[in-house]
Subunit: 333 residues, 2 copies
């Protein structure tokens, strides 16, 4: 039994982490940290990481850190100092340097570090990887389009420094690509469309290459309003059937034929993997998706896009009604 | 004797690479590639890398690649396919992915790869590193200020995608910092001031940290007009004398006392190091300076700065006189 605490008990922790670790059966949730709100029934709630580490000293083996990305590194350092194994939500930190340093220090201290990318555990991703193992890529196309108003309603931080903009969902696509392409991905070109009143891109168009690819690898990440989300990766291997991952990797078609997904799914897959890592005292550190994002930001061609204002279809939580302005994207919400 | 060719025989090759390798005595220059202009007396000149590789097949062991950064990766791949050892000017490529891939492929092929950072070989940098070895850092300050009009007159590419802006000189400072600080450098915060009519920063202010630093590590890179260049790194170790590197690492003061620099200097140092690497069949790959730049671009707070126009004090080469507009910076040229 792994005695676990969750630091950052927000939406993703409630919706995904808690059910997954509960259903796994190998975890005992000993406490959560949240600055506001409550925890699961019967689980102690703490307001700060310090409070939790102090109160549960000797009573926990590991933590899940599912706060927003920015404070994650410093929290991870506190947990490392407290001798805990760690599961980090994606992206594992704000910078490559932080992840690299954390990996070295966990190794030195004999702690398990697991940098999760939840999309890599979507139910059909493993199948795509198996089909493409050893193949050359003739062409590949990533289309990731979701409405930022729907998934980050009113969250201005996504447009600010280290907010990543449309790379927030886009990095999920890259994490799948990194897993299924049987060779390194290289960023060749990035065009970022940045709203006039924001710092981060609302659309990103990437061209990538790989030593195992003969043809183009292209990706479009789009946060503009749309009536239908799309999270599709299409891969044409040389001399093999086309592989299409849909709905973020939860569905797969091979040569036009739908196949039943065989994986556990995102968070159940993550907690199964973490249990094995902890048992085997092995870390799993992967920063390739963030490396691609860093290379994109460093070399990007930034184009101006129309100003972005939130268009929120549900009333904000404070009950003051819908004050969202309109404009800033294509399509309709 | 290492039989060498230089691909990209521009200003830096003429001014630095050619004298350094000639004075070393262990190199024989068999050819140069330049799209325009001539080579050194008696050295064959080629217009393309293909031409050179074909004409000198079996007659060269290694190449220096000193083109602008953007085409460097593809040229390096051609040279690797031709079985050559490689010395790369800084930055070794446009992206982290390219360098990582090149390193893996050179390793597989048994080729020597040397990613040079010329400032790391400035005459006093080794001394600073020796003084700081094993120390903790109480505080550190990097000030890099040079007039872009002086060092990149009219070169619009420095402001475009993958042009790096003021990180073009700033990465030299970071390459020294990476070498003298006895622990990893982490990028905590970056503020980039970007001229309204350009894509790249004219000023960058960074806050860094390190597991070996107790206090702040701050860097300012500034490309605005100035009457006096400054390239200074000041390090206060805990319980030790202050170390000041001046003029880009070519001069050193320890505890207020100037010490004679003991190194060979930038390019002589690079060619001495490369000869040893080739002899020992060992690569030296360092992408930490570029990793810090990537982390800065990815997480930066971008602020608007006044529009930048070139203010060129020398007549342009075409002899049409000085049409440079004024404005865009502080200070005077």
């Amino acid at each position: 039994m792994i005695r676990l605490a969750i630091i950052g008990y927000g939406k993703i922790a409630r919706d995904q982490h808690y059910p997954a670790l509960t259903n796994h059966g190998g975890y005992e949730l000993k406490g959560v940290v949240t600055t506001a709100g409550s925890g699961p029934d019967g689980v102690p709630v703490f307001r700060t990481t310090e409070d939790l580490l102090q109160a549960l000293k000797g009573e926990i083996d590991a933590v899940t850190i599912s706060t927003p990305p920015e404070p994650r590194y410093n929290i991870a350092r506190q947990c490392l100092a407290a001798g805990l194994d760690m599961l980090l939500e994606k992206p594992p930190a704000s910078t490559l340097g932080q992840i690299q340093e954390l990996a070295v220090d966990c190794e030195k201290a004999g702690r398990v570090l697991f940098t999760t990318w939840h999309s890599q555990y979507a139910a059909a991703v493993e199948q795509a990887r198996d089909v493409l193992a050893g193949a050359r890529i003739a062409s590949m196309r990533i289309c990731w389009h979701e409405d930022v108003n729907k998934y980050h309603p009113g969250q201005d931080w996504v447009w600010g420094p280290a907010g990543f903009g449309v790379f927030d969902p886009g990095i999920n696509a890259l994490s799948i690509a990194v897993k299924i392409v049987p060779g390194k991905l290289i960023l060749d070109e990035a065009v970022l469309r940045v709203p006039a009143n924001r710092q981060q891109p609302i659309i990103a168009r990437l061209k990538l290459s790989s030593p195992v690819a003969d043809g183009p690898i292209e990706a479009t990440f789009d946060w503009c309003p749309t009536t239908e989300d799309e999270w599709t990766i299409t891969v044409q291997p040389v001399g093999g059937p086309e592989v299409v991952l849909r709905h973020g990797g939860s569905e797969i078609e091979i040569g036009g034929q739908a196949h039943a997904p065989t994986g556990l799914g995102e968070y159940p897959g993550i907690y199964a993997a973490f249990a094995k890592l902890v048992q085997g005292r092995r870390s799993h550190v992967d920063y390739e998706p963030l490396r691609l994002v860093a290379d994109a930001f460093m070399t990007a061609d930034r184009e101006p896009a129309p100003a972005f204002e939130w268009r929120i279809s549900n009333p904000p939580r404070n009950g003051e009604g819908n004050h969202a302005k309109h404009g800033g994207g294509v399509g309709s919400a």
